[in-house]
Amino acid sequence: MAVASAPPKARRTTPWSLLARNQLAVAGLAVVVAVCLIALAAPILPLADPDATAPANRLLPPGTPGHPLGTDALGRDLMSRLIWGARVSIAVGLSATLIAAFFGSLIGLVAGYAGGRVDNWLMRGIDMVMAFPYILLALAIVAVLGPGLLNALYAIAIVNVPFFARNIRGITLGLARREFVDAARLSGKGHARIVLTEVLPNVLPVIVITMSTTVGWMILETAGLSFLGLGAQPPQADLGSMLGEGRRVLFTDPHVSIVPGLAILVLVMGINLLGDGIRDVLDPRLKSGALSRPVARTAVLRGAAPEAPAHPGAVLELQGLETQFHVGGSVYRAVGGVDLHLQPGECVGLVGESGSGKSVTAMSVMGLVPTPPGRIAGGAAWLEGTDMFAMTDEDVRLRRGRDVAHVFQDPLGTLHPLYTVGDQIVEAIQAHAPLPRRDAEAKARDLLALVRIPNPGERMAAYPHELSGGMRQRVCIAMALANDPKVLIADEPTTALDVTVQAQVLTLMDRLRRDRDSAILFITHDFGVVSAICDRVAVMYAGRIVETGPTEAVLAAPAHPYTDRLIACVPVLGDPDRRLDAIEGRPPVVNALPRGCAFADRCPRVRDDCRAADIALIDRGNGRAVRCLFPVDAPETGHD
């Protein structure tokens, strides 16, 4: 499976260097600069008089000596007319842009800053103008003012005012309520000064973006009006009117119209490339380069793969799993060699802080880690003895939802907003069982009843946003159970829920696994939840398992200092004096992991040995293991 190219590097850089890195934008800039320089230099270039007619030389083909692009129907030199015409077109396009930007921004600033009634009235007016097809309004204005280049310029500028007004108003509205504006107001500055000195600098990028993305349009539209004979009037010519004149001799001498059209195309294309580049640089949402979509399955790029599972009886076993994110040249080792297995009917808790790699571990199994930027870099996921990472995409797809099903956190985001919950469950059923619609619907109703949703028949027709958080989570669980999966991976299924609902969902899942003998991998950061449902527990820190063992044993006597602190974080009812220690410090960043123990910097028991070398997961018998040289329950010997 190929890996799509990585998103642009997210280093801190100046806008100019960002723009310079965008090759297309640079090409656009080069075209625009070249065209503008030639147009500016028109008076000093050795060109023929663009308006000098010469009936004897009419309609000469391109390449004629003295007339490199030929001549038009009146014998005027096309090269010269083209350059002088481009000069007019660019000047008109830029002027229209500046006028539209000025008045549009003014309206936007006033409306956004004043808010309330002023805003309301101004925007009503703008909406009214926008209710017209843009070109039509320009035409109506020209009809009133009369044909002519200047009138065409005004018309194009006026119809573009609403774009600026709307964009700038949106930003200003947000800024006008911000603290720094309030501060300026309290310091006694006048409104006009606040708008000019505090608000305007912040909306300037938006104005520039809007300008750079509309100037191409404005040049096209003025050319269009001239083409129709409503813009530049003879003998004055812009690119559009040249095209209009060329049209009369289209069939006999197409070069007269092809040349100016091509010039418009090149110029506008250059402007658009540059404009897109400027927008990408100034638009903060695109700056992170995060807008690449995940493909259907996580890329697998591993060296030597494990040959056989270590726990042959397990329904699912992860062996040396390594999952990485490659972002802009740095490698984030989200999962750094995880071993984990689930027996049929067993519930294993995977516990850790956010960012510890537990969700990535879970999503790696079925290839649901987004690629780009994620990739599986090592290890194996054995599903009943078959390595998931060695399967074809189609084989993985067939097992998703059928053998291994997921319940994700945040049920509002994980259910499709545009389909009823009934449709979504039916779809999950039909994805793996060729049931007729009617039977699938009956089964979906049964599933909803199973997860204790009242009136399942009615709820089938509900959309996710019409249900409560607890209901949605039950729908997700029902959907996951649609095909009696062998393994259920539940990623913080109760975090978004309130305590009573949480207890209900936990009871439900516990009953389901006992009734159906499904294994559950339960991901959570909450040891309270773990004690309620899990047979065994694995604690993750910085992408690795640091302690594992039977739940009661670990809870009663945690061995790893990190586990110890995590358990100490669970509030106990009726024991208000118990200290709720948040663990001091932060977990290390997984693109710069320290040598030795990753918890060393936050550990109260840290010694020099901890930082010396990689620490192995040490087997302690009774199914317990810990990745620590100086476990909590061991006597503190060996002090120097």
Partner: protein
């Protein structure tokens, strides 16, 4: 749902009302005396005054507007002096042609734009994506009237595949195949820019949607990737793209002005250009009003379609 549609229909009324206001007052801003313009500069003052009275121009502007609006309600848009026939007759006759052209183009650009956008997003950074992105860039940078001329040169003059102008053949035409043959080139030309815009936005919308958690859910269910793309991602992306298609209706209706001129299509656009050069302002007024009203209705359709698609909007 019906209640929502009824509400939206009611909301259209003030917009239409606003359109009449703008159209009327733009025309009222015309410098000079319409009566003089109609009668010519050699008209006697008495004649000018009589015509002014006839046209109601001796009254105040608000009064004129109300009279004009009243006439409009009764389907009286005035009389075109250059054609010497009621504006309404001319406008309705030509509006059909414009609607055929603009409607076909809108259909073309929606289908092609959506398709190109989805394919481009699904193959992000791939060859298809690069080709589509480049084609879109050329599409939105090309002057459509020039493209029309090129297509005429190639398809009508060189290869003689399609007629260069008109809506029906002068002899022996008039049936549907004849119309389609004439429609092909102008409709394609008119749809190019809008296709580019829609493709671009669809691509962005798809990329945005494909990152959502519910797409991961769809994949986790074991759905076929084509189903994930088309049923899950595309539907969600469409909600955001539909208003843009509504806006493109405006660009297509407006762009028809150029294309109808280039292909001599007997629609409102070419009528408007002629009317502007002959200063037949009542005809301009009527044409602009009808096309603007059509645009409002297209947007209404887009609104309703969006609401049908997204239950959260109901």
């Amino acid at each position: 749902m019906m209640a929502y549609i009824a509400r939206r229909l009611l909301a259209v009324i003030p917009v239409l009302f606003g359109l009449t206001l703008i159209v009327f007052f733009i025309m009222a801003l015309i410098p000079g005396d319409p009566a003089t313009a109609i009668l010519g500069s050699y008209a006697t003052p008495e004649n000018v005054e009589r015509l002014n009275r006839q046209l109601g121009l001796d009254r105040s502007l608000p009064e004129q507007y109300l009279i004009w609006l009243g006439n409009l309600m009764q389907g009286d848009l005035g009389r075109s002096y250059s054609l010497n026939r009621p504006v309404l007759d001319e406008v309705t006759e030509r509006f059909g042609a414009t609607l055929i052209l603009a409607g076909t183009s809108l259909l073309l650009c929606s289908i092609l734009g959506l398709l190109a956008g989805v394919v481009s997003a699904v193959r992000q950074y791939g060859l298809t994506d690069k080709i589509v992105t480049f084609a879109v860039l050329i599409g939105i940078s090309t002057p459509s009237f020039w493209l029309g001329l090129l297509l005429i040169l190639v398809f009508a003059v060189q290869w003689r595949l399609f007629p260069a102008s008109g809506m029906y053949a002068i002899y022996g035409g008039g049936d549907l195949p004849d119309l389609l043959r004439h429609l092909f080139l102008p409709a394609v030309t008119l749809s190019v820019v809008a296709t580019g815009v829609i493709a671009r936005l669809t691509r962005t919308a798809m990329l945005e949607v494909l990152r959502q958690d519910y797409i991961r859910t769809a994949r986790a269910k074991g759905l076929h990737e084509s189903r994930v793309i088309w049923r899950h991602a595309f539907k969600a992306a469409l909600v955001g793209v539909i208003p843009v298609i509504g806006i493109q209706a405006g660009f297509v209706l407006g762009g028809a002005v150029y294309i109808e001129t280039v292909f001599q299509w007997p629609g409102i656009g070419s009528m408007l250009v002629t009317a502007i050069s002959t200063r037949d302002l009542l005809l301009v007024q009527g044409g602009v009003l009808v096309v603007a009203a059509a645009y409002v209705l297209f947007n209404l359709l887009a609104d309703v379609a969006q609401t049908l698609l997204d239950p959260r909007l109901r």
